[in-house]
Chain length 114, copies 2
Amino acid sequence: MAGTQVSIRIDLENGGRIGPGKIALLEAIRNTGSITAAARSIHMSYRRAWLLVDELNKLLSEPVVTTTTGGARGGSTTLTPVGEKTVALYHLIEARTRAAARTEFQTFRTSMRR
Amino acid sequence: MAGTQVSIRIDLENGGRIGPGKIALLEAIRNTGSITAAARSIHMSYRRAWLLVDELNKLLSEPVVTTTTGGARGGSTTLTPVGEKTVALYHLIEARTRAAARTEFQTFRTSMRR
């Protein structure tokens, strides 16, 4: 069970959820500079990507992405400080969770695989 | 953000996933003694409950529930030792995760709500 892993989902008190899908999308936007390219890079439809970004923007106190229009490259989309903080926080909690769960996975393996 | 909480999902190396829904179902089966009553108590369709139990039985090395037929009460369904271990392990990792995440949620609150 070496490949067993734990994922986390943050359930906000306003009913919003932040899980691996939304975080992967934000990171893809950071890497590609556009929602269209980000969606493509993680095999997600543009429509779904746009809906998830819109949901995140409404969940948090400030938008998670910002788009500059015009310019030679036709504008680009980047993460805002709140977007960056959300990604960083998620990975921090994820890392702590994985460290904490390591011992229990070992227990799981020995008790489940006989 | 006092109500903010973290949920975990265990991704097994065989592709199986164990998250809050399956664990709630197992606990409901333990409490009610039947898949039908368990599904009703957590507002899940019987079909979905049956499919989730079947999936868990196939994911793990042994079945998670066992059904005794006949008798005055018409039989009952209970968790097997592997079913009980799965529930206990899930809550152990969940508790460790929540303890580890507490500090980070505090950071989240101060940075997000202005």
